[in-house]
Symmetry: C2
Subunit: 184 residues, 2 copies
């Protein structure tokens, strides 16, 4: 049915890189290769088709340099809007439990793109969803821990602790963002 499917997480990662100015496909690849933000593939077979996809969706535009055959990509107005819409989306429990890295990507790109209110809302939602996930896991743990094999139990504890760590981070981030937005 749809021949214009919605962007993937990789697509948004690319859009996010483009928010501060145009980049070549090769630059984008190198950034993914070195920055270790998330774990997006930097292979040409991933990036160049993704850029084509984004062009087809009219979220980026390609400027060819006639002399050397290098080209640059930049965000279109629609691309900026798509990026903002993606960052502004309400956070679900599933986002926290299954797509935390995408959530952190959404956070990382917020500077200069989301207004202060939306930035705070993002972290507040993240905090409340994290609390939900953690209390759910703890309830399960309290019931089942004794019957779980040691490796399973420890792996489960790792999950709880990771979310707890993320919660502590989010609380601190909220404080820092608040300070920046008020006295910055």
């Amino acid at each position: 049915m749809a021949h214009v499917s919605k962007p993937t997480t990789l697509d948004y990662a690319i859009l996010g890189l483009l928010k501060d100015g145009p980049l070549s496909g090769y630059r984008i690849r190198k950034i993914f290769e070195t920055s270790a933000m998330g774990n997006y593939s930097s292979s040409p077979g991933t990036i160049y088709p993704a850029l084509k996809r984004l062009e087809r969706l009219a979220l980026v535009s390609k400027e060819n340099n006639e002399e050397n055959k290098k080209s640059q990509f930049s965000l279109t107005a629609a691309g900026k809007q798509a990026l903002i819409d993606w960052m502004r989306q309400d956070i679900s429990t599933e986002d926290v439990s299954k797509k935390l890295s995408e959530l952190m990507l959404r956070f990382a790109f917020q500077g200069g793109y989301l207004n202060g209110e939306d930035q705070l809302r993002f972290l507040e939602q993240m905090i409340s969803q994290l609390k939900l996930v953690i209390s759910g896991m703890e309830a399960f743990y309290d019931k089942r821990a004794e019957t779980m094999p040691i490796h399973g139990r420890l792996a489960f504890e790792s999950g709880i602790q990771t979310y707890q760590c993320q919660l502590d981070w989010a609380k601190n981030a909220l404080k820092e963002i608040k300070n920046t937005n008020t006295d910055g």
Copy 2:
């Protein structure tokens, strides 16, 4: 060239579930749906083809029940060996920085399958690779933090803290496994 490619992470997750006895495809789906171990898709379009793949690789065998057309899958000897080999693999920096959830899956299935020595080696390797990743990130942070935009900086901090949390977990797990293996 190769028409027998090596198992995916999902494949190993299935093999791991099968280590304690045969299961139907539907059971496997329900376990993935409810247990939230990793975030493996439980849709029929994922699980049934994966089981076919594993059968083709001779890592599982399918037992059909003639009366009702239900079937069960169990590990073959080759499947057990593949699972063990996967769990025993040396841990690389990349495993830690890009495939932590697969690493935790490998850990979760170790009970009863890896000998005590290999269990300790796994955690020791995990600890040393985590330390490497963390010190690399901290070095980067010390150099660049001041010039990073606040959202980028905070997202980066989240990464460091997550690995630090995982390191603390691994140290504790090592202690617990040691205790269990000596006085258990």
